[in-house]
């Protein structure tokens, strides 16, 4: 809170009444029962876009009934919240990529493109692409100062697109979204964070690590939210030095933030040490893993605090530099209007209809003169006298397209398809079936002339299969070849009689640094790290 007080001028009829607005001061309750209802209605409204996703999925032109859209929506807000840091929002493509495992887990047999499309659709809908304000609005009612029933509009956003200094557009989760996500609707940031951490400590002491993980994640969301509000304040003070009270408010703000970070840092380090103990003492692998994950979450919290702290320390220097730049100037040479304070701010406080005249006056007076476009008489006569051109009903001539020579394909699409029949394939022979290269060659030879060569080439290529590449490309399975020492006896090709088989590519999970193997069909996808093959 900057704490700066300058007089706010409000338009005629712009502001109705002075009572009733909820304050951010802790402990002062000015909330009437009526407002309590309004607040709950608003909190409820924030979840509406999520329900709406599931309600509308049946009306899409593609089949999306199998997806739990609200769930994906919450995951999307989660991922954006976790990916956004102090300076940037979350990259659009990155969020889609992170969502893929969750979407894929719901309908595993659907192609990867569909998963990406679902993720994209959910994000677009949470941004509300297509509306001019890119947000949501809900109506609610309440009585005004005179006791009359008034309908009001509550505007809110879930995911917000923001511009970064590099010109890109990033996603950030709004406060409303973070509140919906955490479930603690309309609470004070700091005290909620304290509460989350107290809960975390209690849970660790009682050994309930599963719940502790949940609480740790909540603490992390709170941390992100706190960073976000501080970022906004710092940005504002840096942009406009004089909008802030330098004597008291700024130092107080920075001190408060630093003290806060210090306390959180100490608390989190302590929690981390406790969990590390819990992790080392745990004998059951499940608990060990839970504790390890918890350490990771708390680590992230600490890292975020450190980042924030670095910013706060730089802020002081930035303020001083700005002040040097802005404060030293001569005396006013002639009385002038203060455009910001006397014109812009009052205009912003007016209602839309009242503000029209002043801002239109500024526009007309502040944009100079225009040179009206006047056709010259000579040009006009010429234009009028020019006979109309005959339009060819068939349109103009189609230009001869310049064709680039097509690169020669050694093997046609048919040959490729035919080798697919000869080589083992996922789903047809089952996962475990494998074929000898010699058998494959023999089968290929009966089918066509070019086939054996392509089969041999694909087999050789399969020796060095990069699982990572296949995973990046999103292939469901990959052909692998293993040399088990058998020598190939073939009239055309020599070398090893390779063992050809398909392996499924799936996402596995990391447990205490070890990759667990999972099968395409059996493994439940819980993370996007690690690869497993069978």
């Amino acid at each position: 809170m900057t704490g700066s007080v300058y007089p706010v001028t409000t338009g005629a009829g712009g502001v109705v009444g002075r009572a009733g607005r909820r304050t951010t001061v802790v402990g002062v309750s000015t909330i009437s029962p009526d407002e309590g209802v309004a607040r709950r209605l608003k909190a409820l409204a924030c979840t509406a876009p999520l329900h709406d996703l599931d309600a509308r999925k049946g009306r899409l032109e593609w089949d999306a009934v199998g997806y739990q859209m609200a769930e994906i929506g919450l995951q999307a807000i989660d991922q954006v919240t976790l990916a956004m840091d102090f300076d940037h929002g979350a990259d659009h493509g990155e969020v889609v990529r992170r969502l893929l495992p969750f979407v894929g887990a719901q309908v595993p047999h659907a192609p990867r493109e569909e998963h990406a499309r679902v993720a994209q659709w959910v994000i677009d809908n949470l941004v509300n692409v297509g509306s001019i304000d890119r947000g949501f609005a809900v109506e609610y009612g309440g009585s005004d100062a005179e006791g009359n029933y008034v309908r009001r509009r509550f505007d809110f956003k879930l995911l917000v697109e923001v511009a970064a200094p590099d010109g890109g557009v990033y996603l950030r989760a709004s406060d409303e979204a973070i509140n919906v996500l955490v479930g603690a609707l309309d609470t004070d940031v700091e005290s909620a964070q304290e509460a989350a951490e107290t809960k975390l400590e209690t849970l660790i002491v009682r050994g309930r690590l599963g719940d502790a993980r949940l609480a740790a994640e909540q603490a992390r969301y709170r941390t992100v939210q706190y960073a976000e509000s501080l970022r906004r304040k710092l940005e504002a003070t840096r942009r406009d030095v004089r909008s802030v009270d330098w004597l008291d408010a700024v130092p107080a703000l920075l001190n408060e933030a630093l003290t806060h970070i210090e306390a959180r840092y100490r608390a989190e380090t302590m929690i981390k040490a406790n969990i590390a103990d819990a992790r080392d003492e745990a004998t059951e692998p499940g608990r060990r893993r839970q504790a390890a994950e918890l350490v990771e979450v708390v680590d992230d919290c600490i890292q975020r605090h450190t980042q924030l702290q670095a910013r706060l320390q730089e802020a002081g220097a930035a303020f001083r530099a700005e002040q040097d730049r802005q404060q030293f100037s001569g005396r006013p040479q002639r009385p002038s209007v203060d455009v910001f304070g006397q014109l812009l701010r009052p205009s912003l406080g007016l209602t839309v209809s009242a503000a029209h005249d002043p801002v239109a006056a500024f526009f007309t007076a502040g944009t100079g003169v225009s040179n009206p476009v006047v056709p010259s008489l000579g040009g006009l006569v010429e234009t009028l006298l020019t006979p109309p051109t005959d339009r060819d009903p068939f349109g103009s001539e189609v230009p001869e397209p310049e064709l680039a020579p097509q690169p020669a394909e050694r093997f046609g699409a048919d040959t490729w398809a035919a080798t697919d029949d000869v080589l083992p394939r996922a789903g047809r022979d089952g996962d475990t079936a494998s074929v000898r290269l010699s058998d494959a060659l023999a089968r290929a030879r009966t089918a066509g002339e070019d086939l054996p060569q392509l089969v041999a080439l694909r087999a050789v290529h399969a020796v060095g299969t990069a699982i990572g590449t296949a995973r990046t490309q999103g292939d469901p399975s990959v052909l692998i070849a293993v040399d088990d020492g058998t020598v190939l006896a073939d009239p055309e090709f020599g070398g090893a009689d390779l063992l050809l088989a398909v392996a499924g590519v799936t996402a596995g999970r990391v447990t205490a640094g070890r990759v667990t193997a999972g099968r395409v069909t059996g493994g439940r996808v819980t993370g996007d790290r690690g690869t497993s093959e069978e």
Partner: protein
Amino acid sequence: MSDAEAAARLVAFGMRPKALPGRDPDYADLVRRYREDDDYRDTVQRVASGLGLVVLAVDSAPGIVLAATEGSVFEIRMDSYARRTALANRQADKVLHGIAHLAVAALAFPRPDDLGDDSYVGRVSVELVDGAVREACRVLDERAAGPADPESDAPQLEEVWRVWQRRPEATATKDGRAGESTTRGIVGKALRFLADQGFLVPVGAEGAYRTTPRYQVQVRELAAQRTFDELLSLNVLPAGSATPSLVSGDRGPDDDNHSRAGGGADV
């Protein structure tokens, strides 16, 4: 060259956004003549007035600065500027465009001194302008007394800061530029338009602009005054003062403020 012709020539120079006395010796001669020859000055003003123009200033740096009188063919109207907006929020959109122009001037000349000082050159960019307006909106939001949300059936009674705050600052578009109806799009349009009018000059590659003396004259001598009067007629202005009202809290005289600010900077 007759007086009338020379006078009309000077007025014609004022119609060219990019013409400057510093670049054109003829122009510079006419400006000097205007400043020295009272009869010539009178003729120039009569020619301008006959055309529906007012001479705001004539000086060696900005050249002749003209303004259109109301209803003149040279007047730039908001309706034609903000033509391409959806009918549904036309009024709100027009106000946003006006606010963008006001904010460009406010950020180009942050203090009254800057507007008064002929040697001052301001720098503005889309980020700076939109950021400052958003911050002002946020402060108004924090300070707003009364109901937190606008009435739903009277959009024209909604405060301007709410409209600006609600509008997204940028949207992802296919060609990677900010969407036209976003606040950054609106500010960007204002900056480009002012650059075309010879009021701003692009500097550097990052979308920054510097002000020209002509813009300073235009804002100081006409636009700010007119808006000031409009706001006065709406009864929303406090009595004007020479110190910048941007500073928060109670302030002493200017010198005192320097020392206070310096002392408070130790964080």
